[in-house]
């Protein structure tokens, strides 16, 4: 850990003179780790530079950019966060010319904590740490192995705990709409808790995450009811990869498949009738 | 030196020893390392398929399974015999193409504790590897005794260019791979129109009259083109054209004497190897006279020179299709 921290600090110090600020984690007052914008004016703050626990840096970036769309920044991002930034770029939500990516490679225990399949960056020119292999996700496998009634019971129980705090949406780097479909009563029923089953809220959200979710698991982390909603996203991401050969955040110019016409073989893989 | 998995096939042990010896002699200077599959079995030729399809494919697949076991990182099987090449390639193709069929064959293999993953290995003929992997430049580097003055009819037979599951040859009926190789050896290559016609196959055994007709067609056509040597890439073709040439002559009351050699034998000569080490002398129609010409570099007798066709101005011909045409077509 120390090793990566030192290298990271060095990297940030090198980058700082060329940008208006570097977005990374800092141990704040009360020992709480949170995203912080380090600036060259206050480089002493780098003493408080932190790596873990993971906090939603792209989400903070989203907020900063809303106020200062032309800010020239650098950001320390892990594999998932980098993918999030790529997807935001692909959805025209930020300008990568103004953004320097500092890739932070996760370590084994971190990857296991996140059940992460890709705990490494691929686009960042500057990187800190050594990339490691991904780990399998036991929870996703467990849920997938359930029978249909078991799945139904499992999710019914999980969704019953949802208090519709919108926390999962708010923290998601991919939820950048001004007005959210989840707040439209055409789709999501209002004024009822627990929400009626099936949960329109969670299913609509899962559909919106198709070809967008970068598997950062911030939603699960932030959820006060501990709903493992990213399981849906991960399973669907796998299907999308198999059917349409698309992976969110993997490439800068590949468009989400559901926007495009069928390519050869895609129809056959979609499972639709011939 | 690149290593390849080597499947020699039964003929190489018996009737085509000349092929075996010459293959070994030319692969070395070309940097082709051959690792023979241990305990390979017969590919079944065309006969087992005729009797019982599933066992026939299982028989072939045992070789593929052995090759996969012994692959040691290599991905290509070289089979110098066209029939073996096609059988191995075909089994791999159908096991890959037809999942249910692949599973059935693997079920049979499982009875012997074996398994083959369809598509895992590429099955290729030695000619294809020399042209497309080693390259003609490397061949030319090794030529010390160009085959100048030797008129050769390149003869491929059927099973190499057809059905060509791997799309490795320039054409299914008039491929130019062997022509280019022989030209690189310095020989005078005849545009042999029947280069992929049938040698008679097993018809020599089951319907000799039909077989003699096919052999006659090939030999007489080669003779009409003033051929010194017919070059083959397959033991079966060589056997039918060479060993049965005499019987065919009896049948048709003709007296053709065209030696039929393996392409590797001529490569060996051009590479400066000794003829004895290349299996010369085992052919029925002696090639000694033809080869002696190259050895001494004697100019060809005037009367043997090919009769040039009289040229009249005439109408222009369409240009022949080029490699670019093929690529463009594939792109469409």
């Amino acid at each position: 850990m120390t090793d990566r921290l030192t290298t990271l600090r060095k990297t940030i110090e090198n980058v700082l003179p060329n940008v208006e600020g570097v977005l990374a984690l800092r141990i704040g007052p009360g020992g709480i780790t949170a995203p912080h914008l380090f600036s060259k004016e206050h480089s002493e703050e780098l003493d408080k530079l932190a790596l873990w626990p993971k906090e939603p840096v792209p989400d903070t970036l989203k907020i900063i950019l809303r106020a200062h769309p032309d800010a020239k920044l650098a950001i320390v991002c892990r594999g998932c966060e980098e993918r999030g930034i790529v997807e935001m770029f692909k959805h025209s939500q930020l300008n990568l010319d103004n953004l320097t990516l500092i890739g932070l490679q996760c370590e084994q225990d971190e990857a296991e904590f996140c059940r992460c399949a890709k705990p490494f960056t691929v686009h960042s020119k500057l990187t800190v740490g050594e990339p490691i292999e991904g780990v399998p996700d036991p929870l996703t496998a467990k849920i997938e192995a359930m029978s249909q009634p078991e799945k139904q019971a499992f999710w019914k129980q999980e969704f019953e705990h949802c208090i519709k705090c919108y926390g999962c949406r708010n923290i998601c780097p991919q939820c950048f709409c001004n007005i959210c479909a989840l707040e439209d009563e055409t789709w999501v029923e209002t004024g009822r808790l627990p929400m009626p089953n099936p949960s329109m809220y969670h299913m609509v959200r899962a559909m919106h995450m198709t070809a967008k979710c970068v598997a950062c698991r911030e939603c699960e982390e932030t959820c006060p009811a501990d709903i493992p909603m990213a399981v849906h996203f991960r399973l669907i991401a796998r299907d999308v990869r198999e059917m349409f050969n698309y992976e969110p955040g993997a490439s800068m110019d590949q468009k989400p498949p559901q926007l495009l016409v069928l390519e050869e073989g895609e129809y056959e893989r979609s499972g639709l009738p011939h | 030196m690149s290593d390849y998995i080597f499947y020699p096939g039964c003929s190489m042990e018996s009737s085509a020893k000349a092929y075996y010896e010459s293959v070994m002699a030319v692969c070395k200077p070309l940097g082709i390392g051959l690792k023979e599959i241990e305990d390979w079995n017969c590919c079944g030729a065309t006969e087992y398929l005729s009797l019982d399809i599933t066992p026939a494919y299982a028989l072939i697949a045992r070789n593929l399974a052995l090759a996969e076991e012994q692959a040691n990182g290599n991905k290509t099987i070289i089979a110098p015999c066209s029939a073996c090449y096609l059988n191995l390639a075909k089994a791999d193709h159908y096991m890959h193409d037809d999942k249910a069929f692949g599973n059935k064959i693997n079920e049979a293999l499982a009875a012997g504790g074996m398994h083959y993953t369809p598509g895992k290995l590429a099955v290729r003929h030695l000619l294809d590897v020399i042209i497309n992997e080693v390259g003609l430049d490397k061949v030319k580097e090794n030529v010390v005794k160009p085959l100048a003055g030797l008129r050769i009819a390149p003869y491929l037979g059927c099973m190499l260019p057809r059905p060509d599951y791997g799309k490795r040859y320039s054409d299914t009926e008039h491929p130019d791979e062997l022509d280019r190789l022989l030209s690189a050896l310095g020989a005078e290559v005849i545009d042999f129109p029947l280069k992929t016609h049938c040698c008679g196959g097993h018809m020599t055994q089951i319907g000799p009259d039909t077989a003699f007709e096919m052999i006659h067609r090939l030999i007489s056509s080669a003779d009409a083109l003033n051929t010194d040597v017919i070059v083959t890439v397959c033991p079966m073709c060589q056997m039918n054209l060479d060993a049965f040439q005499g019987q065919m002559n009896n049948h048709f009351k003709t007296n053709f004497k065209i030696p039929v050699l393996f392409f590797t034998q001529l490569m060996g000569i051009a590479f400066g190897e000794k003829a004895e080490s290349l299996g010369f002398g085992s052919e029925f129609v002696s090639a000694a006279e033809a080869i002696s010409r190259v050895r001494v570099q004697a100019p060809k007798p005037a009367e043997d020179a090919p009769v040039a066709k009289k040229k009249t101005p005439g109408l222009p011909m369409p240009p022949l299709r080029t490699k670019t045409d093929h690529t463009q077509e594939a792109g469409r």
């Binding site: 139904q152 609509v204 198709t210 559901q258 | -």
Partner: protein, 135 residues
């Protein structure tokens, strides 16, 4: 035995006309399906399908022009890419994915339309009512 409630989203150009063709030929099929006409199957967002279930539909059937024959050239290509994902999501959430069915029916295929509706109604009848499974 309950009467399943089925919502059918049909594109205006092929499938809706296919249903008309079935009618003109007086082919019979169960009355459970209520057809909603949309310009193109590509118009149907996953939200609309989910909302149908939420409203108590036991099954949703989505019919469009055959791939390659779309009145809007490639509108149905998007359907063919969105809806399989929704079916997967339903599966992962414990909803029988067969409650959502996608197929292609041209204006001439009255018979296919009838068969598709019959088979789908049978499939849905074999499942418990959706509301009950969600209780």
């Amino acid at each position: 035995m309950y009467e399943p409630k089925i919502i059918g989203f049909l594109c205006n150009w092929c499938s809706y006309r296919g249903a008309d063709t079935a009618g003109m030929a007086r082919m019979k099929y169960p009355p459970n399906v209520k057809i909603i006409r949309v310009p193109c199957s590509g118009r149907i967002s996953p939200e609309l399908v989910l909302r149908s279930f939420r409203e108590g539909a036991d099954g949703v059937i989505l019919l469009g022009c055959h791939i390659g024959d779309c009145h809007y050239a490639t509108g149905n290509h998007r359907t063919a890419k969105r809806m399989p994902v929704l079916k997967k999501l339903m599966e992962y959430t414990g909803i029988e994915p067969e409650r959502l069915y996608i197929n292609w029916v041209s204006a001439a295929e009255g018979e296919k339309f009838t068969t598709v509706i019959k088979e789908f109604t049978e499939t849905i009848s074999a499942l418990p009512p959706f509301v009950e499974t969600m209780k």
